[in-house]
């Protein structure tokens, strides 16, 4: 692989990273805190790519004495000459994520991943009391609602009206769950919080984003990682996909 090809690959990868980090599309894949690192590494890749192209146009066909021999690369390319300055052919694979981002543009994880999951929540610290909800109609994350309902005996939810935003995941045993995924580092570790929505006649397709207003009712199970709490819905409203689909 010549220097200019190396440069193009580096530029393409850098452009891809920057393209994702410039707007909000990176939020489909990684946590919000990654943005400065994505921008920084994208800039570095553009710099390295630009330098490689500049070197190529400087026009030296001589061996690059700065790089040592790479025996594995020789073996795979069946080269017999001393061949410095050639990049590794495996680098062509770096075009795969470029193509994936620009052609496929995968969306955030949705009902398929949420339905596959076993547990839905983990216990919070035992000795910490959950703070009460703010007065009036409270807007909650799904994870917060699940933790309060399952692990705190719903003491902070009794008789309160809450609002939550998530997407629809069909329940195999009938009805649907209000779901939202949360990720720590990237989509590979994403976990779903699920709330069973009852007393609503709505029949929405999977992955529809909705905001549900309702109140907690008994019956979802307590103190069990696999428990799915219930929500008695007063209103269900479809909404556009939020800027950050994950909580």
């Amino acid at each position: 692989m010549k220097k200019d090809t190396q440069g193009v690959i580096l530029l393409l990868v850098g452009v891809t990273v920057l393209r994702l980090a410039w707007g909000d599309q990176y939020l489909f894949y990684v946590a919000e805190g990654m943005r400065p690192f994505l921008i920084g590494s994208g800039a570095v890749l553009l710099g390295l790519g630009g330098y490689a192209l500049w070197e190529a146009y400087q026009g030296s066909r001589q061996s690059d004495p700065a790089l040592g021999r790479d025996p594995e690369e020789h073996a795979s390319e069946h080269d017999h000459g001393h061949d410095h300055g050639r990049g590794p052919r495996i680098a062509y694979l770096l075009l795969v994520p470029v193509l994936a981002v620009f052609i496929v543009a995968p969306s955030a994880l949705g009902s398929f991943s949420a339905a596959r999951q076993g547990t839905t929540s983990t216990a919070p610290p035992l000795d910490v009391d959950l703070p009460p909800l703010p007065p009036g109609q409270a807007e909650l994350t799904l994870r917060d609602y699940v933790v309060r309902a399952v692990w705190d005996d719903a003491t902070t939810l009794q008789g309160r009206r809450v609002t939550m935003t998530g997407f629809v995941t069909p329940d195999p045993s009938g009805g649907w769950w209000l779901t939202r995924m949360a990720l720590a580092c990237c989509a590979a570790d994403a976990q779903a919080s699920r709330v069973k929505v009852i007393d609503t006649a709505t029949d929405l397709p999977a992955d529809t984003w909705v905001t549900v207003t309702g109140s907690w009712v008994q019956g979802g199970g307590l103190r069990d990682p696999a428990a799915i709490p219930l929500l008695h819905a007063a209103a269900v409203r479809t909404v556009p996909v939020p800027r950050n689909p994950y909580e």
Binding site: L20, F28, M34, A66, G87, I90, L99, S113
Partner: protein, 322 residues
Amino acid sequence: MSRARRYRPGPVEILAVSAVGLLVLHRIFADAVSTPALKAAATIFVAIVMQALPFLVLGVLLSAVIAAYVPPSFWQRALPSRPALAVPVAGCAGAVVPGCECASVPVSGSLMSRGVAPAAALAFLLSSPAINPVVIVSTFVAFPNNPEMAVARFGTSLFVAMAMGWLWLRFGRGEWIRIPGQRHADGVSRHHVFLASATHDFLHAGGFLIIGAMAAAVLNVFVPREWLGSVAGMPVVSVVALAGLAVLLSICSEADAFVAASLSEFSLTALLAFMVVGPMVDMKLIALQTGTFGRRFATRFAPATFIVAVLVSLAVGAVFLS
């Protein structure tokens, strides 16, 4: 300058073909990735790559700095001359370097090329993704009712890293590992060495990272979760099963504590094994190790690390976590 050579496409041609190809293929391929499973796999693939890339860039920059600007004499002074003593020092140094395993592989290779004993560099390679501050803090946060998990993880991972270094010292053979070549040559500016190393290392390691990411994404989506529930109760099988899952899922060490905490039906020992094995042996790492040190190395080192990590986790779990 005239050149008598056969035609090879230059960057302009590549860009032009790529642009046209993107426009034409967009229609075709966007519809091909249509099943929910493939869509999820594509999302996870891009996510793993985007999560890893900044750390890989950091790692190749660090390794290029080591290759270009830090003389071997520095390492001779910084580390004990006896490799058996350099191993624990290098293992503990891993506590200082935060980041994904994607950074530790190029840095470790660069250290070796500058004369650091491979055993010590390998101990660092294993310890730095496993015991750095971000990982330990995230383990505390993920197991708020079991602080002993974070302590156990730190101790077990450090011990396994050092054990692997010593094992390499005792049993490792030079022909099994391809130490990245000396990058410094007379007459070439150090800045050029720096840039050339960084470029080459990123292209090389990046290609292998893609292989690891593709494998991890496919496995993440297509591994059925049902069989996990059936092994959760068996003492030793559950530990090995979670260790294997850690290899397949290839989750970053900063986040695997949260995934472990969600596997609540498993014993603490099994969760410990999941967290100890993951940063040391997974699809990304196997791919990166193969690329940097050669297939002969990876086929020996990765399974050996897996076995040692599982055994030590079982021992630590039996004594401290039950």
